[in-house]
C-alpha cells in the first residue's frame, strides 16, 4: 500500500488562525504551526499535502508556508458542514490511494528521533489497512474526543483491532461498548488527530446523509465506525504528547513543550525558574 498524500484540515471557522501561529521549533527556528505539520507529513513520506481551508483563506496560508509551495494544494470547504465534510472535500485529491490525515490545530511532540506520522505510515504500509493514532485517556475527558473500542493485537502492547468508534460517548456508553482489555480502569482509547485512512472512508462519508436539522455532514467518527465493520482497521497507541492549540493556553503549552524537548531546553528552563523565583521573592517581600 502506498501513502503518497497527506490531508491537513484547517477549515474550522473558529480555529482558522491557529495553524498560522508562529512557534519556535526544537531546533530554535521560528515556524508556523502549519509548517511543522507539513514537515511531519513530508518526513513520513508524503509527496503532496492538501490543506482544507475556509474559502478565502488560501492566500494567507500560502504566504505562511511558501517554502513548501510546490507540494501544496489548498482545498476550500464551501460550507461549514463539519469535520467529516472537511475531510470529504479532499476526496478528489487523494483519489484511490490511502492518505495520511492530520488536524491543523494540534501539535505532536515526541522524542528527538520519534515521528508519530512516520510510525503510523510505516505500520499502515506494512499492514495494508487504515490505522488511527490513539491515546489512553481518562473518562472525564470523553466529551472532547472520538473514542475507539477493540482488542489488542496478540503480541503487541500498543496495537489494537478497532471494533467500534463513537464520537464523544457518555461514560455509560463507553463502558458498555468501548472497554478495551489491558487498559487501566476508567481509561479509553481516544483519537489523537492523526490517521492513515484508505479511500473507502471517502466513499462512506460521501454516502452518509448527515444531520438535516443542523446542516452538518456525518462526522469522521461515524464514518470510521462503519469502516471498522467493512475492513481491517487498526489503532496505534501513541506515547507522543499531543497539544490542542484551541485549548486555553494551548499554544503556550505547546510552545513550552517544544522548547523543553529541543536544543534550547536549558535556556528556557533557566528563564522559567528565574521567573518563578522572582515571583516568590516578590511575594515573600509583600507578606514578610
Amino acid at each position: 500500500m502506498r501513502i503518497p498524500r497527506a490531508v491537513i484540515t484547517a477549515a474550522g471557522r473558529n480555529q482558522r488562525a491557529l495553524p498560522l501561529q508562529t512557534v519556535v521549533d526544537r531546533d530554535g527556528r521560528a515556524k508556523a504551526v502549519l509548517d511543522i505539520l507539513i514537515e511531519e507529513a513530508i518526513a513520513a513520506g508524503a509527496e503532496e499535502v492538501a490543506i482544507v481551508v475556509a474559502p478565502g483563506d488560501e492566500a494567507r496560508y500560502a504566504e505562511t508556508v511558501g517554502a513548501h509551495a510546490a507540494r501544496l494544494a489548498f482545498i476550500p470547504q464551501p460550507e461549514p458542514r463539519g469535520y467529516g465534510d472537511a475531510v470529504l472535500c479532499a476526496r478528489d485529491f487523494v483519489g484511490q490511494e490511502a492518505f495520511l490525515h492530520l488536524v491543523g490545530d494540534h501539535l505532536y511532540i515526541g522524542g528527538p528521533d520519534h515521528s508519530c506520522a512516520r510510525e503510523l505510515v510505516a505500520l499502515a504500509t506494512a499492514e495494508g489497512c487504515s490505522v488511527s493514532a490513539v491515546q489512553a485517556t481518562r473518562e472525564h475527558l470523553l466529551p472532547a474526543f472520538g473514542v475507539v473500542g477493540g482488542r489488542r493485537v496478540p503480541g503487541r502492547q500498543d496495537l489494537y483491532v478497532v471494533e467500534a468508534v463513537v464520537e464523544k460517548p457518555t461514560p455509560t456508553e463507553a463502558e458498555m461498548r468501548l472497554l478495551v482489555p489491558g487498559l487501566r480502569a476508567g481509561h479509553y482509547l481516544c483519537f489523537f488527530g492523526m490517521h492513515v485512512l484508505t479511500p473507502a472512508v471517502m466513499d462512506i462519508l460521501a454516502a452518509m446523509p448527515g444531520n438535516a436539522a443542523t446542516g452538518r455532514a456525518a462526522s469522521l467518527s461515524e464514518a470510521l465506525a462503519i469502516l471498522a465493520t467493512r475492513e481491517k482497521y487498526l489503532a496505534l497507541e501513541e506515547r507522543t504528547r499531543r497539544y490542542d492549540l484551541g485549548d486555553r493556553y494551548g499554544l503556550l503549552t505547546a510552545q513550552l513543550a517544544l522548547a523543553l524537548s529541543g536544543q534550547d531546553r536549558e535556556n528556557v528552563l533557566a528563564r522559567l525558574l528565574e521567573m518563578l523565583a522572582q515571583r516568590e521573592t516578590a511575594s515573600a517581600g509583600r507578606t514578610g
Binding site: 473518562e139 472525564h140 457518555t170 456508553e173 480502569a185
Partner: protein
C-alpha cells in the same frame, strides 16, 4: 455418616441437590446433627463457590434453629448461657467472629438450645449478608454502572446536559423533558421467584408474566394514564431543585452531602435517581464538594449560574399498591436524567432494549443506595406491553459467571400479537378489576423467609414452588388460547395453593372475606381472585365475566368498605379501599420534550411551589421564575385542565381557619372523657425536661450486684417431683371453680404492627384448625379445653384500656364471644397517659449510647440519616412538649401493665366475679401474646402447694429474648426489666427470661395492697391502696414508635416518649413471696414481632398450641 449434607449441596444431579434438609434431619440424632454441623462449618469456609457457602450457612442456621434444640435435653442451670462477646460481635455485624465465640462456648459447655439460637442467628445473618454482598458486587459491576463509582470530584464528571435542554426557547422558558411511565402488574404472582438471590440461585425457576399498565382511580380520574411521571429542566439558579409533587416536598440542594442524605426529607427516591443516573455519581459520596460555584458539579453539567430541577409526580396511586409504583417512579426519574445527559440515545419516545436493561440495572442500584429493594421484575413498567421475564444462567461474559448460577438481570420477552392476540388482551382488560384493599403490611420479612425456604429446599415450600412454576406455564398456555376464565381459575388456585403453602401470611382474613363475599355476590360470573405481589390486603384483583364487570365495579366499594369496617381495629389499614380502572400500556416508558409556552410543570407542582414564591419579594425571584409564573397564570385562564387552580392556590396560601385546630380539640375531648390526670402529666413532663427522669435514669445504680439465679432458686415444670398428685390438686381446684385466667390486653402491641395502632388481641394472625384465629380466640380455646376437661368453665378476664376496650368489645360481639361458655369479662382500664415529644438526649441515649444492631452498610446509612432527621424533628417540635400531631388515639398511651391488675380490683370486675365464684382463689395472668400459656393442672397444683403470693413462669434464655429476666439482685431473687439493667452484658449472665405469666394467690395479693375481699366493694379504699403501692413501683420512661398516616397510604414513624409501670417489679417488694418455675419455650414464649411467626409455625410451636385448643365452632 458425616458429610451427607455436603453431598446434597455439591451434587451435580438435580434430584440430590434439591433434597430437603428437613427430611434428612427428621431421622437424625442430636450427635449426628452436631457432626454434620461440624462438617458444614469447615466446608463453608473452604468452599470458593458462593452458593455452596450460602447453602451451607442456611443449612447450619436451620439445624440450629429448627432441629437441634428439640433433641437437646435441658441441662443444669447456667449451661448454654450465651456469651456476651458473641452477641456484641453480632451487633457489630462481625458474624464470623460471633460464630467462633459461640462454637467455642459450645465446645466448652456442651450444646444447648440457647447457644443453638445464637448460632442460628449468626448463620442466618451471615447467609443474607453474603447474598447481599453478591448482589451489590453484581450491581456495581454491570457495565455502564462501574464508571460512576470512580468519579470522585466534580472536575471528573464526564456527563453534560444535552444542548437541546440548555437553551430557553423563544418564550424564555427552558424546555422540559417529561417521562411518563406505566407501572407493572404481575400476572400470575411469581411466587416471589424474582427475588434477586433466587434468580441467581435457580434461574430456571425465575419466571414472571408481567404487564405494563396505566391506571386511574375509578370514579375520580377520567381515564387510565401512566401513573408515574418525571420532569427535568434546566433552571437559571445554581441549585439542584428536587420536587416531589405526590409527597408535597421541595428542596433546593447545593452540596453533594445533602444529595446523599436520603432520609432527611421525602425526597430519598429522587436523590437515589440523581445518584444512580450519574448526575451526582455514587463515587462522590463523602467528597465534601459543592454543586454550585465555579468548580461545582452543576457548572460542569449544565454551565455557570445554572441548575437542574427534577420533579416526580405520582397520579394519586396509593402506597402498597403491589404495582411497584416506587420502583417504576425511580426508573422513570433515572430514564429522564439519562436522556438529559445523552446516556440514552434519544431524548424522546421509547428506549432501546439495551437502554431499558441499563435503566433496570440503575434502578436496582438506586434501590440499593436508598436501602430498599424489590424484585427484578419491578422495573417492568420501563418495557411496554405484556412480557415474560425470565432468569438467565450466567455466561462467561457475565460478572456473575463462576460465582452464582444465574445473572443478576433477567431477560424480557415482549409477547407478539401472534402469541397473545388483541382479542385476548381486550378480554383480559374487560374481566379484571384491580383494587387496593387499604391494608399496609411490611413484606420485608416475607422476602427473607421465601429466600430461606427455597435455599433450604424445604419440602412443602419446594413442592409448592414447583406447583407455582407449573401454574405459570398453564397461565401462559391459557393466554395463548385466550381463555380468561381459565386464567381466573388458575390465579385463584395459585393463591389458595402454592402461595399460601410457601407463606401462610400471604393471605389475611380480610382477603378471604372479600373473596367469599365476591363469590357469593357474583355467583358463576366470579371467575377468580388475583393476588399482586408480596402480601394480600393491599393491591389485589378480581376476574369476573366481562358482562358483569361494570356491576361488579359498582358493588365493590361497598363490599370492600364493609369488610374494612369490620376489621379495621384488627388489621393494619392505612387508607380507604380504592378501585382502579386500568389499561395495558403498549409504549413502556415514554419521553417527550415540551417547549415554548407549553413548557410548564404539572398543575400539582404549582400548587406546591407557588405559595412560597408569592410570599417572596418579586424582585428576589429569578427572571426564569417570574416568567414561568406569568406563563402559568396565562395558562390558568385558558386551559380547562387548570380550572379551579386559583381557588386551590388561594386555599393553600390562606389555609382555612379551624381545620388545624380540629385535631387538638378532639384530643382534649378524649382526654377529658378518659379522666386524664393533667397534674401528674405535668409533673412527669417537667421531670423529663429537667433531666430528673429519662431513659438513662431507668437503670438501677451501677453499684447494684446482679448475678444469675442458683440451682435451687427455680423449679422445672418438666421435672416436678410427684407430678401426678400435683395434677390431681390442680384439677380439683379447676373443678371447684377456684381459678380464673386474666389476659393482659390493654396495650396495642406496637411492635406487632410497627406502631400501626391495631389491637393485637383481635389480630387474626394465623390459620389454625383451618381458619384465621386471633390471639383472644386462641386463649379462649385453651380455656375451653381446660374447662371441658375439668367439668367447670374457667372464667376469663381480659384487661383493656381506652385503646383496646371498644375494639375488643365490638369484635367479641361480632363473633358471639367466640362461643365461650364460661364467664368472659372485660376489665376496662382507668389510667391514660399523653405521649410526649422525646428529649433529644433520650433519642441519643437510645440510638448512640445503647448497643444497637448495626445494619447492612446502606441500611445503616439510611438509619443514621433517619435518626438525625428525627432528632431535628424533636427539637423543632419542642422537646418534652405534648405529642398532639396525630389522631387522638395515637397521642395517648396506656401506662404499663402494672395498672391492669389493680384496675381489676378497682373497676368492680373482680368483685362481680367473686360474687359469682366465691371459691375463686387463683388467677393465672398472662400477656396476650404468650400464646402457649394455659392453666396447666400440674403447674397450678405446684403453685397451690407452694403457698407463695406470686409464682412466675420463666424460660431458658435464647438470643432473641431481650429485656431483662430473672436475677439475683443484691441477693434477692426477682425479675428485672431490661430497661433497669445498668449494662447490656448484665442481661447475658441471666439464664432465664420472664414469660410474664404469673400465678397469683388472690388473697395474699390483696393483703399486699392492704385489702381484703370485703374491701373490693369500697372503690375509694381500693383507690387509695393502689395509689400507695403505685408510689413504690418504679416508673420507666420508654420510647415507642408511633405511625402517622397521611396522603395516599403514606406512613411516617415517630419515636415518642411515654411512661410505664410494670407488673414484674412486684417481685422486688420484700413482702411479696414469689416463686419461679422454668417452663418449656413453646409454652412460655411471647410472639412480639410478626417476623417470629414463620419460625413459630415451622418449629412445632404452632402445632403444640393447636393441641391445647378446643375451638368453639359448631
Amino acid at each position: 455418616m458425616s458429610g451427607e449434607l455436603i453431598r446434597i449441596i455439591t451434587a451435580h444431579d438435580e434430584s440430590t441437590r434439591n433434597r430437603s434438609l428437613d427430611a434428612w434431619c427428621r431421622t437424625a440424632s442430636a450427635s449426628e446433627l452436631l457432626d454434620e454441623c461440624a462438617s458444614l462449618e469447615s466446608f463453608r469456609k473452604r468452599s470458593g463457590n458462593l452458593y455452596e457457602q450460602v447453602r451451607a450457612l442456611f443449612f447450619l442456621y436451620a439445624i440450629h434453629r429448627f432441629h437441634l434444640p428439640a433433641r437437646l435435653a435441658s441441662g443444669p442451670d447456667g449451661q448454654g448461657r450465651i456469651p456476651y462477646l458473641g452477641h456484641a460481635h453480632l451487633l457489630q455485624r462481625r458474624f464470623e467472629e460471633s460464630i467462633q465465640v459461640f462454637l467455642g462456648a459450645q465446645a466448652a459447655d456442651g450444646p444447648s438450645a440457647g447457644l443453638s439460637s445464637a448460632l442460628a442467628e449468626a448463620y442466618h445473618e451471615l447467609g443474607f449478608q453474603t447474598l447481599a454482598d453478591q448482589v451489590r458486587r453484581s450491581v456495581r459491576s454491570v457495565r455502564g454502572n462501574q464508571w460512576m463509582f470512580r468519579i470522585g470530584h466534580p472536575m471528573d464528571q464526564p456527563l453534560r446536559i444535552r444542548p437541546e435542554l440548555r437553551e430557553p426557547s423563544g418564550e424564555g422558558l427552558f424546555p422540559i423533558l417529561r417521562e411518563a411511565t406505566p407501572v407493572r402488574m404481575d400476572l400470575s404472582h411469581s411466587a416471589w421467584s424474582d427475588i434477586f438471590f433466587l434468580g441467581m440461585d435457580f434461574p430456571e425457576g425465575a419466571r414472571v408474566l408481567n404487564v405494563s399498565i396505566d391506571l386511574a382511580v375509578h370514579g375520580r380520574d377520567p381515564q387510565p394514564r401512566p401513573p408515574v411521571e418525571a420532569y427535568l429542566r434546566v433552571i437559571d439558579e445554581p441549585v439542584l431543585r428536587l420536587v416531589s409533587v405526590d409527597l408535597n416536598t421541595v428542596a433546593e440542594i447545593t452540596t453533594v452531602a445533602e444529595v446523599f442524605d436520603y432520609a432527611r426529607d421525602y425526597l430519598g427516591l429522587l436523590k437515589a435517581a440523581v445518584i444512580a443516573s450519574g448526575l451526582v455519581p455514587p463515587g462522590m459520596e463523602g467528597s465534601g464538594e459543592r454543586l454550585d460555584g465555579p468548580n461545582g458539579l452543576l457548572t460542569r453539567l449544565v454551565g455557570p449560574g445554572r441548575g437542574l430541577e427534577l420533579v416526580s409526580n405520582v397520579n394519586g396511586i396509593p402506597k402498597g399498591s403491589r404495582l411497584a409504583v416506587s420502583t417504576n417512579l425511580l426508573a422513570s426519574l433515572i430514564t429522564c436524567c439519562m436522556r438529559a445527559t445523552g446516556q440514552a440515545g434519544t431524548l424522546t419516545g421509547q428506549l432501546t432494549e439495551p437502554e431499558r436493561r441499563l435503566v433496570a440495572a440503575r434502578a436496582i442500584l438506586g434501590e440499593w443506595l436508598a436501602g430498599s429493594g424489590g424484585g427484578w421484575q419491578d422495573s417492568g413498567g420501563v418495557w411496554p406491553d405484556m412480557k415474560l421475564i425470565t432468569g438467565v444462567a450466567a455466561g462467561p461474559d457475565d460478572p456473575e459467571h463462576g460465582v452464582s448460577r444465574g445473572r443478576l438481570l433477567p431477560q424480557h420477552h415482549i409477547f407478539t400479537r401472534d402469541e397473545i392476540t388483541e382479542d385476548t388482551r381486550r378480554k383480559l382488560q374487560d374481566s379484571l378489576i384491580l383494587f387496593h384493599g387499604g391494608m399496609a403490611q411490611n413484606v420485608g420479612p416475607i422476602l427473607q423467609q421465601v429466600t430461606e425456604k427455597y435455599l433450604l429446599r424445604s419440602e412443602v415450600e419446594w413442592r409448592a414452588r414447583q406447583d407455582a412454576i407449573a401454574l405459570l406455564r398453564e397461565i401462559e398456555t391459557l393466554l395463548h388460547a385466550g381463555d380468561v376464565r381459565g386464567i381466573g381459575a388458575a390465579t385463584t388456585r395459585n393463591f389458595m395453593g402454592p402461595i399460601q403453602a410457601i407463606i401462610p401470611r400471604a393471605t389475611t382474613l380480610f382477603t378471604e372475606r372479600l373473596i367469599e363475599r365476591a363469590q357469593a355476590a357474583f355467583g358463576p360470573d366470579f371467575w377468580g381472585f388475583w393476588m399482586l405481589g408480596g402480601a394480600s390486603g393491599g393491591g389485589m384483583g378480581l376476574i369476573v365475566d366481562p358482562r358483569r364487570r361494570e356491576a361488579a365495579k359498582a358493588a365493590l366499594p361497598e363490599l370492600l368498605g364493609r369488610a374494612k369496617r369490620e376489621l379495621e381495629q384488627a388489621l393494619p389499614f392505612a387508607m380507604e379501599p380504592v378501585v382502579y380502572d386500568f389499561a395495558i400500556n403498549t409504549r413502556g416508558t415514554w419521553g417527550e420534550l415540551v417547549t415554548g409556552a407549553a413548557a410548564l410543570m404539572p398543575a400539582g407542582y404549582y400548587t406546591l411551589t407557588t405559595p412560597a414564591l408569592l410570599r417572596r419579594d418579586p424582585g428576589q425571584l429569578s427572571p426564569g421564575r417570574r416568567l414561568e409564573l406569568d406563563r402559568f397564570a396565562a395558562a390558568c385562564r385558558v386551559d380547562p385542565a387548570l380550572a379551579g387552580m386559583v381557588q386551590t392556590l388561594f386555599d393553600r396560601v390562606m389555609p382555612r381557619a379551624g381545620a388545624a385546630a380540629g385535631a387538638g380539640q378532639d384530643l382534649q375531648a378524649v382526654l377529658d372523657e378518659l379522666g386524664f390526670d393533667r397534674a401528674q402529666h405535668e409533673q412527669i413532663r417537667a421531670d423529663l425536661r429537667q433531666g430528673r427522669i429519662g431513659l438513662a435514669h431507668n437503670r438501677l445504680p451501677a453499684s447494684t450486684e446482679i448475678t444469675d439465679v442458683r440451682a435451687g432458686d427455680v423449679a422445672h415444670s418438666d421435672a416436678l417431683p410427684d407430678a401426678a398428685s400435683l395434677r390431681a390438686e390442680g384439677e380439683a381446684a379447676l373443678r371447684a371453680g377456684a381459678v380464673a385466667v386474666v389476659t393482659l390486653a390493654a396495650g396495642v402491641g406496637s411492635r406487632w404492627t410497627e406502631g400501626a395502632g391495631v389491637v393485637k388481641a383481635i389480630n387474626p394472625f394465623v390459620k389454625l384448625g383451618g381458619r384465621h384465629r386471633t390471639f383472644l380466640e386462641i386463649h379462649l380455646a385453651k380455656s375451653r379445653r381446660i374447662g371441658q376437661a375439668a367439668g367447670s368453665w374457667l372464667p376469663h378476664l381480659i384487661t383493656t384500656s381506652y385503646l383496646t376496650n371498644g375494639a375488643i368489645r365490638d369484635f367479641l360481639d361480632q363473633h358471639g364471644d367466640y362461643r365461650y361458655p364460661g364467664p368472659l369479662r372485660l376489665s376496662p382500664g382507668r389510667a391514660v397517659g399523653l405521649r410526649i415529644v422525646p428529649m433529644a438526649r433520650d433519642l441519643r441515649f437510645a440510638w448512640e449510647e445503647q448497643p444497637q444492631q448495626l445494619l447492612d452498610e446502606r441500611q445503616q446509612k439510611m438509619r443514621e440519616s433517619v435518626h438525625a432527621a428525627l432528632i431535628n424533628w424533636a427539637r423543632a417540635t419542642g422537646e418534652g412538649s405534648d405529642y398532639v400531631d396525630n389522631v387522638p388515639l395515637q397521642c395517648l398511651h396506656p401506662v404499663g401493665h402494672w395498672f391492669e391488675i389493680p384496675n381489676l380490683l378497682r373497676n368492680g370486675v373482680l368483685a362481680g366475679l367473686l360474687r359469682e365464684r366465691p371459691a375463686l382463689k387463683t388467677l393465672m395472668l398472662h400477656n396476650v401474646d404468650a400464646i402457649g400459656a394455659d392453666v396447666d393442672p400440674i403447674v397450678l397444683g405446684w403453685h397451690l402447694r407452694s403457698g407463695a403470693t406470686l409464682n412466675v413462669e420463666v424460660i431458658a434464655r435464647q438470643i432473641e429474648d431481650r429485656g431483662g429476666g430473672l436475677a439475683r439482685i443484691d441477693d434477692r431473687v426477682r425479675l428485672v426489666e431490661g430497661l433497669a439493667l445498668p449494662g447490656e452484658e448484665d442481661e447475658f449472665q441471666l439464664s432465664y427470661y420472664n414469660s410474664n405469666t404469673f400465678w397469683i394467690d388472690l388473697d395474699r395479693l390483696l393483703a399486699v395492697f392492704g385489702l381484703t375481699r370485703a374491701d373490693l366493694d369500697h372503690e375509694l379504699r381500693v383507690a387509695e391502696a393502689i395509689r400507695a403501692l403505685a408510689a413504690r413501683m418504679p416508673t420507666y420512661i420508654t420510647l415507642k414508635d408511633v405511625k402517622k398516616r397521611w396522603g395516599y397510604g403514606q406512613e411516617d414513624v415517630f419515636p415518642v416518649a411515654q411512661f410505664e409501670k410494670l407488673w414484674g417489679d412486684m417481685t422486688a417488694l420484700p413482702e411479696v413471696e414469689t416463686g419461679y418455675i422454668v417452663v418449656p419455650r413453646r409454652r412460655g414464649q411471647n410472639l412480639k414481632d410478626v417476623a417470629q411467626l414463620d419460625g413459630w409455625l415451622r418449629d412445632g410451636s404452632a402445632a403444640y398450641v393447636e393441641t391445647l385448643c378446643a375451638w368453639g365452632e359448631a
